[in-house]
Amino acid sequence: MSSLPSPLPRPPGELEELERVWKVPTGIRRLTAVNNTYIGIYYIGTALLFLVLAGVLALIMRTQLAVPENDLVSFKTYNQLFTMHGSVMMFLFAIPVIEAIAVFLLPAMLAARDLPFPRLSAFAFWAYASGGLIFFGTLFFGVAPDGGWFMYPPLTSHEFSPGLNADFWLLGIGFIEISAIAGAIELVVGTLRTRPPGMSLDKMPIYAWVMLVVGAMIVFGFPPVIAGTLLLELERAFHWPFFVAERGGDPVLWQHLFWLFGHPEVYIIFLPAAGLVSMMIPTLARTPLVGYRWIVLAVLSTAVLSFGLWAHHMFATGMPHVSSAFFSAASMAVAIPTGIQVFAWIATLWRGKLQLTAAAWFILGFFFIFVLGGLTGVMVAVIPFDWQAHDTYFVVAHLHYVLIGGMVFPLCAALYYWAPIASGKPLSERMGRWAFWLMFVGFNLAFFPMHISGLLGMPRRVYTYREGLGWEPWNLASTLGAYVLAAGFALIAIDLIKNLRIAGKVKTNPWRAGTLEWLPLDDYATRSIPLVESRDPLWDRPELSEEVERGQHFLPGTATGQRETIVTSPIEARPQYLMVLPGPSWYPMLAGVGLALFFFVLTVKLVVPAVLLAAFTLAMIFRWVWSTDRSGDLSPVAVGGGITLPVSINGPISHAWWAVFVLILVDGTIFACLVFSYFFLWTTNPQSAWPPADVELPRLAWDWIAAAMWIASSLFIAWAARAVSAKRIRVLGRFGVSLTIACGLAAAAMLTSSFALFKTGMRPSDHAYGAIVYTILVYQAFHVVVLITMAVYTLLRTYKGLLSQANRVSFDSTRLLWHYMVVQGLLAIAIASGAPRLLS
């Protein structure tokens, strides 16, 4: 790598070929674009649209509450308004926008040509956009969810919410979860494996550290809500009584599952914003970041500790004191790493000299508002205080201070700071400052009085209140503040509409920043991928920008005639291989839209259209994966700096392997949540009722047979793996036969376990015990169906001669997931048969 920069001139036609390969389609075919810059802009724009829509709902609510005993909206409409406001803000704005910014910005910060799975990002976006719009549209038909954004049973159970409202939330959130998980896979694999050569972990931008950690948080934080929504929908649709106390269930189980997701979620929302602040402050203060290592520590610690706080949302549920106490302690402990970040920022500002741009004003606003919100957070972490403040407007004030202060203000700063990367020129500084002051004053006028109205006893979610309670002036002030805040947002919207465009080629660095996203950019990202030797490469080597633009670093063209980027080792960022990336395609878009429509149609119980849409979606996914899974041997290529790299790779080094591993972590966490549900319900039922006295357990002989078949299927998959090393892989040869036998064994194991359970006479709707055991089995059956489908796909590739020792990613992915499925199957048997025998 010491032979960089490469000598000039570059070969003729090199740049033109690079431009051709990365060209974005025009016209209607622009919808097929998978470049991260385009998907990122679409994603950010859609998220901001949902911010505006949910904001309008808030204005309606505030208008209703401006005066006592108002009748602008009925209580039924009001219930839908606050539910949709919270759900849209949290699920359709906050989470998507932080992922969207990462999709847009992260590859540029890492000088990668794109994220590792561009079509996956496109699929995730289209699923989110179409599903989100359908979800929001339920408001216009009066069937929007109305049980609060956290949808507690028993209110949201079938008995008390018989309409479709709750189902729209449960199934509607499904596609958000899929989008978020897809995004997390991109973030983790992209941050660890597509950094530029030389960008070891200690030189990685703070924002990249944050997104790596946030990706991991999504991997472990979203599964509880996936499990919870599955259980609640099963209860509503089929009356499986997970949350029905009379039949062994417990509504508190939902709260545990929801908040196991819900608390990490707020840090998933806050940490990326903090990461953006960590990038902007050094540039705007004209000095390197103080305490880089301490901030990395803070981010890691916040992420892990945030998983131990969830029950501080449940202090009023009657938990034992001992449990409440350590959740309270953990809630205070998490303030330590947050404080470290704040002090690092203050130290950086102290050392430098802050340029008061619009972005800087929003950052200062963030400090003020977020710190206030953090302080009230410590207040509600004190249990006796929380018992008074729970479900009052005090909590509403707190959450808006931390979320708007902690995320929206940094987001606005980020828009003003990074807009030049998209459009080549900054937004209007004047409009930005006006917007800031309107938002800052409006926000504090809207939400500070809520602390007082809350302490005066005003509960959340009331659609009106009596005159004479002393709440009137605070509510009126909040309403006025809300409109001032909205005016601020409107100014930003006008600024974006007037000034933000996607420019093809961008060569600008208006803030004279030091990080790689400010290199000259085009549809192909940077002309060449730089060798990185420090945390602020553009400050330390001002000539780097020109060198990269002249193609004097790695991969100045396209080595294979296709879209590519370099994959590097996760710690030292040593080049390992060249990753070929897929180009534009209709299939991810059609699959995403199909999936969203499938969820919607399933919600309204139109079974035949749902089946057709499911088949359509699967067909689109099949076509997408088939065309992405490349065949043919690709010889090693030179990438510059005297380095030759293999094109594509198999085994544990490959990015596909890493993606499947992350997926297994998600899968395993969902399963762990189902197991948690089993044991939680065990603790809330009398000893004699778990299982219920009249329930027979599956016979052990069947369990042993099923277990043996699971293990045997794994062995046949291992045997098939050895057969892949052969020169010729045939469907009717050792490979194909092993794979087919493995499928048969898995199906047989599943049928055996199901038969054994069914024969006991226990039915899932009788008691929560049966419900959870059947759910675990159904979850396993889902895996069997998916894995057999993947095996059939692999056999089809083999039949077509597309599977070889060099191109075996479809089989390797199937193999990894298969072994996971077998482990899960054995655990499922242990839960269904072993646990009740042990616990009794």
Binding site: L305, G308, F326, T683
Partner: protein
């Protein structure tokens, strides 16, 4: 942890996050123990005048503190042994590798230190408030 070698991603990740993983394990053990003991009314007797559940939590906390302190000690020692970088600009591959070493050891030590504080906070709270009593509920399962 050697310089100039390909560091194992798995080992490095576990090393850096060791303190937090110990906190997770202790937290889970405390949570499960308290939940099961209070729900089932078991392990509520006393030993040496202290409830069995808080005693077990105390033991888990002490073990966790010991393990975390050990990680902290090892990481600090390794950090001190790592040579300081010659300069912060363009450096040789060896110097960059040494910078990386110091970074990893620093993180491991800092994470362990912060985790120690979290373990102490959690453990103290669980031991100090050892009651199974819930809000407004009669104290049926109060440890003796």
């Amino acid at each position: 942890m050697n310089s100039h070698t390909n560091r194992s991603f798995t080992r490095t990740t576990f090393y850096i996050s060791a303190g937090l993983l110990i906190w997770v394990a202790t937290f889970l053990a405390t949570y499960v123990l308290a939940a099961v003991a209070c729900a089932r009314g078991i392990l509520l007797s006393t030993v040496f005048g202290m409830g069995l559940v808080p005693l077990m939590i105390l033991a888990a906390t002490v073990i966790a503190m010991g393990l975390t302190a050990r990680v902290l000690y090892i990481a600090i020692a390794r950090y001190r042994r790592s040579a300081l970088p010659v300069d912060a600009g363009r450096t040789s591959a060896i110097e960059r590798s040494q910078q990386m070493d110091r970074f990893i050891h620093f993180l491991a030590a800092a994470v362990a230190g912060l985790s120690l504080a979290a373990i102490v906070l959690n453990g103290t709270a669980a031991i100090a408030y050892d009651s199974c009593r819930a809000t407004g509920a009669p104290d049926q399962h109060r440890p003796q």
